[in-house]
């Protein structure tokens, strides 16, 4: 190899060589795809939902039957597949709220307790068993949780509460609660592990017991992470589909979320309503098809807002120890 070409090799600018640019462009494209996905979700949901509401339908050039926003948001009947059509989302929202609340009652205390145990008490050995077990809890397909609720939990509940119906919100809440425990636990535990050891040692130095340190020092210091985990888990419970579709039933009853007896009845959460709509007319864009996107948009907005709030809480109230 001649000296000239060697010098040329060694001194050529590589940063902008075509190979580097090609690699960079490929990686950038991959990252950009995530933005494209979000934009397509938003645009698709908004345009399709716009065809559903009478106030926006003329804007997107759709003729025919529509529903008013007032009817959608305040109507208490959901009857998309039979005439006269009724598109009131409240019954669906009430069932979703009840399942979310019920599952939160189960998952939030258990999740936080699990997080404290894993981060403060458990030995390395216990952790090496418990953490994979929790992962499996989160990994079991939701359709199987629905089956468990229908097949085993409802019969067990009906021995305690004889007047419980075959499809009921209670069993749905229980399985959704079980499946979101790992989410609360792992995010809260991350927050607790991030609490510096100095704080614990200071607590012990003041004569505090392990209980005092866990509850009085670590938990308050990790509050932002714990709250963020609550919000994320609730957003997951709201978006949960298959378990509630199978276990909660397909009758859109208007329930009073404040009445605990409602948990013994069947109801149809928003996600179950979306699955239910698919059994009807979705072939060519009837009103039922468009209502699918209206609910989808509602769901997307709620979960997105919760995710953003969770991020903000985690960032805004994080205690910085450095």
């Amino acid at each position: 190899m001649s000296t000239d070409s060697l010098t040329q090799d060694l001194t050529q600018r590589t940063e902008n060589s075509s190979r580097e640019l090609l690699a960079r462009a490929f990686f950038f494209g991959c990252a950009f795809l995530s933005i494209v996905t979000t934009i397509s979700i938003a645009v698709l949901l908004v345009t399709e939902a716009a065809k559903f509401f009478s106030i926006t339908a003329p804007l997107v050039g759709v003729e025919g039957e529509t529903a008013t926003i007032a009817e959608f948001l305040t109507g208490t009947e959901w009857r998309p597949n039979f005439t006269p059509h009724e598109f009131g989302v409240l019954p669906l929202v009430s069932a979703t709220l009840m399942i979310t609340f019920g599952s939160a009652l189960i998952a939030l205390p258990l999740g936080v307790a699990t997080a404290i145990y894993l981060s403060e008490y458990a030995s390395e050995r216990a952790r090496s068993f418990l953490k994979p077990a929790l992962e499996i809890l989160a990994g079991v397909p939701t359709v199987i949780y629905g089956f468990f609720a229908l097949m085993y939990i409802t019969p067990a509940l009906s021995t305690i509460f004889p007047d419980i119906s075959f499809f009921n919100l209670l069993s749905a809440s229980i399985v959704v609660g079980i499946m979101i425990i790992p989410m609360v636990a792992s995010i809260s535990e991350d927050a607790m592990s991030a609490v510096p050891d100095d704080l614990r040692q200071a607590g012990y130095g003041m004569g505090a017991t392990k209980f005092d340190v866990s509850v009085g020092v670590v938990l308050p210091a990790a509050t932002s992470g714990v709250v963020a985990s609550f919000i994320l888990a609730l957003s997951r419970a709201i978006g949960e589909t298959m378990a509630v579709t199978i276990a909660a039933g397909s009758q859109a009853n208007m329930l009073n979320p404040l009445n605990p007896l409602g948990y013994f009845e069947s109801g149809m959460p928003m996600t179950a309503a979306m699955v239910q709509l698919l059994h009807g007319d979705i072939t060519g864009g009837g009103l039922a098809y468009r209502s699918l996107f209206a609910i989808g948009l509602t769901l997307f907005v709620i979960t997105l807002a919760m995710n953003i709030v969770s991020d903000l809480v985690a960032a805004r109230y994080r205690e910085e120890y450095e």
Partner: protein, 533 residues
């Protein structure tokens, strides 16, 4: 009075009640276990419904306890007392064949029922030609400009894919299916085994290992029929399960003499199962009348639970997973590399960052709507096909893959990057030669976990219009069902008490086994990776 008060203080001082702490501790432990134990109980119930162990003859149970369970437990206990690492080896030597057998069976299903071997062969050759050209150009000439090389490669690929499959399919003679598979699987498997051996034991051992692997694969179609296997599945099983198992056992025997004793465990387990089976046959004890049996795994859907099977759903799930993995892995890793290695610290990067974590929180049913709208309604594709389903699920797990791949890439020490740059490597060379190889196990773990999530997703498939009653999918544009979808259909459309405790329970166990197999591979990989670091 004052002395009384001081006494009282001194009595209490230094005494800390342990009750609260102890109660609290056990309360926490119980809370931790509630979810896990509940799931465990539910799993026992469903396994009982699916397998029905109580329908077996008491003699059957007795035989298997004596021949199989007792010796296995004894050997396991002995290994545990003697040397825990040997027990670990024994468990691995059981796990490697079990898991590789699962995946090899999945591949065998595709070869038997979905991809005709001739078409497979045609496309393997068509892809191999550009690969050879690529290797040749990088190896023998550094003087060709990069863009010219890319252009040549693209041209060769297009030409090869356009011409070769047609040419091979119009060959005057048609090679035997198993021969085709033995060649196309045996050669790469032998290559991989040889490379592995080369790194551990040197060139000479590598050659003999590779030759042995190739010979075993080619011999399998002849040996298969003697134990009741067709030549084609026998070849696939040998290449994808037999060879890896043999390589693992060989590694233990050669490199870890102190752990050799662990191999006793799989030996006892397999021998116990065989002996137990033979004794049960000879004495005429009836086994359990399980719902999950060979008939269930290999039949189509039926309206009567006794004849219902899950085979089309299994094949559908396998095909979907192949498409999901091919679509999401490169893109997910690419995005992670961009964000960790290339991205400048600007607004766009932060937007992408926040966006990905939000995408991970979008409900799966909304992704189904995305697939329905983008691919079916505006993209004009047929609803419910393998491609549409696979791409929808790929979009769903993409954020999970990106997040875990970023974590793996971040764990590569910065000093290694600096060393690479210090030797004059460019950014792409650093990514290719340092960052990706070093973070690969972590990326793989994350991807497998994400695929384990995709395997159980039902809502997106329902949304994109997957059919409720489906046949065996035979092409990428065929309409497809999947295991969780089949379970949903059985739990709703065919809702009846007979289905609940029979075919449905068996289906649940099948899906759980698939999901647990994926998760356990990921967990084992992660533990190994963390130990090595």
């Amino acid at each position: 009075m004052s002395t009384d008060a001081r006494d009282a203080v001194e009595d209490g001082f230094g005494h800390v009640s342990r009750t609260v702490g102890t109660v609290f501790r056990y309360l926490l432990l119980v809370s931790t276990l509630v979810g896990i134990v509940t799931l465990g109980v539910l799993l026992v119930y469903v396994a009982n419904d699916a397998i029905r162990p109580l329908t077996a003859d008491p003699g059957w149970h007795l035989t298997f306890v004596l021949a199989f369970a007792l010796p296995s437990l004894l050997v396991g206990g002995y290994l545990y007392r003697r040397d825990k690492s040997a027990l670990f080896t024994g468990l691995n030597a059981l796990g490697v064949p079990a898991v590789s057998l699962l995946f090899a069976s999945a591949a065998a299903m595709l070869f038997v029922d979905v991809v005709p071997p001739l078409i497979w062969f045609a496309y393997v050759v068509a892809v191999a030609i550009p690969l050879v050209v690529l290797l040749a150009t990088t190896r023998y000439s550094h003087r060709i400009p990069f863009l010219a090389r890319v252009a040549t490669l693209a041209a060769v690929t297009v030409a090869s894919l356009g011409v070769v499959p047609g040419a091979i399919q119009s060959l005057p003679f048609v090679p035997q299916a198993w021969l085709v598979v033995a060649a196309t699987l045996g050669v790469p498997v032998a290559g991989v085994a040889g490379t592995y051996a080369d790194r551990r034991w040197g060139r000479r051992a590598a050659v003999s290992v590779a030759v042995a692997a190739l010979v075993a694969t080619v011999a399998a179609p002849f040996a298969g029929p003697t134990i009741g296997l067709d030549p084609l599945p026998a070849t696939v099983l040998m290449a994808l399960a037999g060879v890896p198992t043999a390589v693992y056992v060989g590694t233990v025997v050669v490199n870890q003499p102190e752990r050799r004793v662990g191999l006793l465990l799989p030996l006892v387990v397999v021998a116990g199962a065989l002996v137990g089976g033979a004794v049960v046959d000879a004495l005429g004890f009836a086994g359990p009348q399980a719902w999950i049996d060979w008939q269930f795994l290999t039949s189509d859907h039926s309206n009567t639970p006794a004849e219902a099977g899950i085979y089309p759903a299994i094949v559908g799930t396998i095909l979907l997973m192949v498409v999901v993995a091919l679509a999401s892995f490169p893109v997910g890793v690419g995005a992670a590399v961009y964000l960790e290695e290339y991205a400048p610290d600007n607004t766009f990067t932060r937007v992408v960052d926040v966006n990905i974590s939000n995408l991970a929180g979008v409900p799966s049913v909304v992704y189904g709507l995305l697939g329905l709208g983008v691919f079916v309604r505006y993209g004009g594709m047929t609803p419910g096909t393998v491609v549409v389903g696979g791409m929808t699920l790929a979009l769903l797990i993409l954020p999970i893959i990106i997040i875990s791949a970023r974590e793996a890439i971040r764990s590569v020490p910065d000093s290694m990057r600096q060393a690479s740059y210090g030797m004059g490597a460019t950014r792409w060379q650093t990514v290719k030669n340092v960052v990706l190889p070093r973070s690969f196990p972590g990326i793989l773990t994350g991807t497998i976990l994400a695929l384990g999530r995709a395997i159980g997703e039902t809502a997106p498939l329902l949304m994109i219009g997957a059919p409720q009653i489906f046949d065996l999918p035979t092409a990428l544009d065929a309409r497809v069902g999947a295991m969780p979808l089949q379970l949903y259909v059985w739990a709703t459309t065919f809702a009846s008490p007979e289905f609940y405790t029979t075919a449905l329970a068996a289906g649940v166990v099948t899906l759980l086994v698939a999901m647990l197999a994926m998760n356990s591979i990921a967990i084992v990989l992660r533990n190994k990776y963390q130990r090595e670091q």
